[in-house]
Symmetry: C2
Subunit: 163 residues, 2 copies
């Protein structure tokens, strides 16, 4: 259920809670990672698997603001939406729904931890309301999108995001 | 952990999930209950324990809109905020935070079921990200606010809410 090579994210299913946890180290500061998650142009450059084209539809970065984007590949489109419940200095708390399953809502917390030797560890937690729903996400091949997306994020950070 | 007298809500802690479930029957239609939850003036008349004065600060009723209200009593004020992730015909999915514990975010689903004999059963689910956090809510005396609030909601519905 988890992988720990250097270039891949660690994806873990909690044993007691309907939670998926992801962690991944980056050569950047927490502020740069916040920017790469919150700036719509930067975010669209890296989120999702290779070959997906992401179009931002709604992007209102504030506590209580909402977001929506559409990912497209080979003529297929997939909409995702939610709201930014809270944006702190190094944390984002948001709801998340894939519009193909509108009743399925997860609560995501993404936190950035500065590492003592430099770099930043991303900690993402997705809270689902059932173990069945959580396990369906884990079986969906999500690790491909996570790892390809974070590899693109490495390149976006290397190109420079300011902050 | 649960009570089942006619006038009181049933409040249940899930054994496997960090979830609180509340159910309560009302002499009204699902549409009237949706209105009493979504109209800010009606909502302010019934939410919370007796003696609390509720002031709506933000109330943007749409998928992705946000809300905030402040409850006051004896000079003390308590702020609550979140966003409406989804508003369906008979369901509201929202985030919920008491501003006194801003890191604590729960995901609430409130669903209204028309009963065969008339009336409506409210089903509310609060999903927390830990059992400790869930159990702290259960020990907080929340049942007083829930039951006094729903008794006020009975009276608001009896006065008439349209729909």
């Amino acid at each position: 259920m988890s992988t720990t090579t250097k270039a891949e994210a660690t994806i873990t299913a909690d044993e007691k809670l309907p939670v998926i946890r992801i962690s991944r180290d980056f050569d950047a500061t927490p502020a740069q990672l916040m920017r790469a998650h919150l700036d719509p142009d930067l975010f669209a450059r890296w989120v999702g698997p290779d070959g997906m084209d992401t179009k931002i539809d709604v992007w209102d970065v504030r506590d209580g603001g909402s977001w929506r984007y559409v990912a497209g590949r080979d003529g297929e489109e997939y909409g995702f939406r939610g709201c930014f419940h809270r944006i702190g200095a190094d944390v984002i708390v948001q709801t998340f729904t894939w519009e193909g399953m509108p009743d399925d809502v997860s609560l995501e917390t993404i936190r950035f931890e500065a590492l003592p030797g430099g770099g930043t560890r991303l900690h993402a937690q997705s809270l689902c309301d059932s173990f069945e729903g959580r396990d369906a996400w884990l079986r969906s091949g999500m690790e491909v999108g996570v790892n390809q997306g974070y590899a693109k994020l490495d390149r976006v950070l290397a190109d420079g995001v300011g902050a």
